[in-house]
């Protein structure tokens, strides 16, 4: 019997890549809200922290945004595994315990966020938020370690040959430390941006986000630049690739977001920030392709589209959007009518 071959893509590569990048950008925005927001809340002046309604609102929002982080994180990993499964599985096996621990750590962080949002004891609240932040830092580092490792198949083989227990952490820190710092700086920017957005509704309270937004942006530029120059042999091909035509507008959009943020036009600033995030995600993806050059060409994988199922996915996605907006409208309509 001729059994079906699974080494095919169920949609054209451009479509899978687009969905991967789009959902990854959404995941990063939600994740940055949580990570940046946690830093922001914990770094806020201790004596004023729990008097600022923006901070209190943030603490209540954390569990919801964490849910969004997890939900939006599922799709990009799915699409990544679809195309680059051979590399991500291999890298995650080398670091298996650290990879698997991500799940437990996220559960602990998530419960800590709920505990903080339910707790009336201020000291307990602070401890819970600190626990959640430590968890988030671990997860981001573990992900950076594994996702960097997957781009070096020879390193994966070498590390596995030395140790098969799954207790290996990617030792090539220079591959991912600057990128991780860049992500953390981006988290401060996004966290600061959302804090300022929440502060709009509380004009009497000081805006805790401004400092974080601006400093996060400066640090993001510096670490991003340092990361770019740390790419070594890949930097040349990257500069010559179409990715540079995405990265450059992305940088401009970041600067524009600062400009509009300064003018308190947060809608446009947020739009520019989101688009610049998408540009960064695209650039990062291009670096991955360059790193894997010679090992894997995703465009060489045969395509056998499942259009009917894909169409059903689109319908379901549309229905999810409609239902989501309906539910939010119903929820906030009542809240608003009660306030008035």
């Amino acid at each position: 019997m001729n059994l079906p071959d699974y080494q095919v893509l169920p949609a054209p590569l451009w479509l899978i890549t687009s969905l991967h990048l789009l959902t990854l950008a959404l995941h990063f925005i939600a994740m940055n809200f949580v990570v940046g927001g946690l830093v922001l809340v914990l770094a806020y002046r201790a004596q004023d922290r729990w008097c600022n309604p923006v901070i209190l609102r943030f603490v209540r929002l954390f569990p919801i945004v964490m849910a969004a982080t997890v939900t939006f994180g599922v799709a990009p990993l799915l699409f990544l595994q679809l195309v680059y499964g051979r590399f991500i599985y291999a890298a995650s096996i080398v670091s298996a315990w650290f990879w698997l621990a991500v799940v437990g750590v996220v559960i602990a962080s998530y419960y800590a966020l709920y505990a903080a949002s339910f707790s009336n004891r201020l000291s307990a609240r602070k401890v819970c938020l600190a626990v959640a932040l430590i968890g988030a830092v671990y997860v981001s580092l573990a992900y950076s370690s594994v996702f960097s490792m997957m781009e070096r198949p020879e390193l994966v083989k070498q590390l596995y040959a030395e140790d098969q227990s799954g207790l290996v952490w990617n030792p090539r820190f220079k591959d991912y430390l600057l990128r991780w710092l860049h992500m953390m700086a981006g988290a401060l920017t996004i966290g600061g941006f959302f804090a300022s957005s929440v502060a709009v509704g509380n004009p009497a309270s000081p805006d805790p986000g401004r400092r974080f937004f601006l400093w996060g942006m400066v640090l993001g530029f510096l670490t991003g630049l340092a990361y770019l120059f740390s790419l070594g042999e890949v930097i040349g091909p990257f500069m010559r690739s179409p990715a540079i035509w995405v990265l450059a507008p992305g940088l401009v959009l970041s600067l524009l977001s600062v400009w509009f943020y300064h003018r308190r036009n947060l809608v446009i600033a947020g739009g520019a920030l989101s688009l610049s995030m998408l540009a960064m995600v695209f650039s990062r993806h291009s670096v991955r392709l360059l790193q894997l050059e010679g090992h894997f060409d995703p465009s060489a994988v045969p395509v056998r589209p499942q259009w009917t199922v894909f169409a059903l996915f689109l319908v379901c996605f549309l229905v999810a959007l409609i239902l989501g907006s309906y539910m939010l409208r119903v929820f906030f309509r009542r809240a608003e009518s009660r306030q008035t």
Partner: protein, 503 residues
């Protein structure tokens, strides 16, 4: 073999169960609990029962904390663990069903949002709007079961997909519908058990008794749905496997019987403590009932996993990631050249890829008791004919040299003393041990391939002859390579055998 193998001391089955069983327990509760909440809210609002509504609000907090966090994240955990334990199968599933998972993801978005808003909306939303959110939650949660059920049942009974490769053939496979009905019943039962536990701490007693009766009725209803649908499910499985294979299903059948007993105990306890003695139901009894529910569901999931053996995707990929379609390639080229991440120890690599998915040396499904006191030639013979061992192991398509390497690897890790030394046995007792170790792997007395009938009542010379030509007696039969003492003891044991399997 194009992936490295995670060589962890714990058995893969244990690791998988540790993540999967808690998840399936909570995820089914997440569906049934959603239905329970909304149906109960309707009833409470119709009756104007504020106390009941307050209880439901408390229950929904517990519900959100358990399902949105633990349930959702352990679901991600299953995805992580299958990628570590069997990346090739995960890859095959994702390539086949990625849009199915993407569809489930859209339901997941709705589910998460609806659950959160439902919980936060108790105090300020209009009752009708609040209940609409509840229904949306339940619909999204059940639809996510609908999708994942298609993928899970595909692994057991891929049906026409093996010929067509069509998504829909794989998804709506022969066990899809019975499994869906069965799992819906599980959701309802678990909703009853979870809410029973929460309600058992409520005060005052009248209110508690009313809740307990209601919740027990949910549990019993779930069981009532499950019983016929399980029968349907089992019939559908039997329709997909040859009757000879069913004879070898000793493990699945054991788990089925266990699950019958557990279900009967749960039903009896629900009727007795939940309906008849509701006023006296202690929180400890409710906790035991929930633990029984967990045990029962664990038994079912164990059954489902074991009935699929030796495959991870029936008819397509074996549990150790060997693809059925690649048999000619492996038979021609053997395994070693395909191991993409070698560790430098060829024997260890072969052992990992051929055996370690299921076996450890000392722990879970240990090989040591099976090979203590044996020799490399015997182990190699067994390695070469694994698929003949009760039919629940993948075949070995490597070369004879590779089988020898695996055998040497195992032999280095087991007790190499003679069986008589290891167990301190002599005479026919030693002979029985020799039989169990060297023959019993295939010819279990009382089993499908019991050879007692042809062994009983022969003369010494016949037994000697049989042992001399053991390797010629049938496909995969190993030569008798025990020492003279073991040989004599085995013959002594043969002489104790009687026709019909009795000793």
């Amino acid at each position: 073999m194009h992936y490295p193998f995670w060589d962890v001391g714990i058995g893969y089955g244990i690791l998988m169960a540790a993540v999967a069983v808690p998840h399936v327990f909570v995820s089914h509760f997440a569906i049934g609990g959603g239905l329970y909440l909304i149906v109960a809210e309707h009833a409470a609002r119709r009756a104007g029962d504020d106390r009941h509504l307050a209880y439901l609000e408390r229950l929904s907090r517990f519900f959100v904390l358990v399902t949105l966090v633990f349930g959702a994240l352990t679901g991600v955990g299953i995805w992580f663990i299958i990628g570590l334990l069997n990346p090739a199968a995960t890859e095959a599933l994702i390539h086949t069903f990625v849009w199915g998972w993407a569809i489930e993801w859209t339901f997941f978005i709705v589910e998460i949002l609806a659950a959160a808003l439902y919980y936060y909306g108790w105090r300020h939303m209009a009752p009708r709007d609040h209940m609409v959110l509840g229904w949306i939650y339940f619909a999204a949660a059940w639809l996510s079961l609908f999708v994942i059920n298609g993928i899970l049942t595909f692994m057991l009974t891929p049906g026409k997909w093996l010929r067509t490769g069509s998504f829909w053939d794989g998804f709506f496979n022969p066990t899809f519908w019975p499994s869906l009905v069965f799992r819906t019943g599980v959701c309802v039962m678990l909703a009853g058990l979870f809410s029973l536990l929460i309600a058992s701490r409520e005060e005052p007693a009248d209110f508690r008794a009313r809740l307990l009766r209601r919740n027990s009725a949910w549990g019993i209803t779930g069981l009532a749905i499950m019983a016929p649908s399980f029968f349907w499910y089992w019939r559908a499985i039997l329709g997909q496997v040859p009757s000879t294979a069913v004879q070898g299903m000793t493990t699945p059948v054991y788990w089925i019987h266990l699950s019958y007993w557990l279900a009967a105990v749960i039903a009896a306890a629900l009727i007795l403590f939940g309906l008849l003695l509701a006023r006296r139901l202690h929180v400890a009894v409710a906790a035991i009932l929930m633990a029984l529910g967990l045990a029962w569901f664990g038994a079912f999931e164990w059954f489902r996993e074991s009935v699929r053996k030796p495959f991870i995707i029936s008819g397509y990929m074996y549990g150790n990631a060997l693809e059925v379609a690649r048999e000619p390639i492996y038979r021609k080229n053997a395994y070693l050249r395909f191991i993409s991440c070698p560790s430098g120890d060829e024997a260890a690599d072969l052992f990992r890829h051929a055996c370690r998915s299921c076996h450890t040396v000392n722990g879970y499904k240990a090989l040591k008791p099976a090979f203590d006191g044996t020799d490399t030639a015997f182990i190699a013979a067994i390695v070469k004919s694994t698929d003949l061992l009760r039919g629940s192991m993948p075949p070995f398509w490597g070369s004879a040299q590779e089988a020898d390497l695996i055998a040497a690897h195992i032999r280095d890790r087991v007790d190499t003393r003679h069986l008589s030394e290891i167990y301190g046995l002599h005479g026919s007792e030693l002979g029985k041990k020799v039989y169990d170790v060297r023959c019993g792997g295939c010819h279990r007395i009382g089993g499908a391939t019991d050879k007692t009938g042809s062994l009983a009542g022969l003369a010494d010379a016949d037994y000697e002859g049989l042992l001399d030509m053991a390797s010629e007696l049938g496909e995969g039969m190993p030569a008798f390579t025990g020492d003279a003492a073991e040989r004599a003891a085995l013959i002594q044991y043969f002489k104790t055998l009687k026709h019909g399997g009795a000793e």
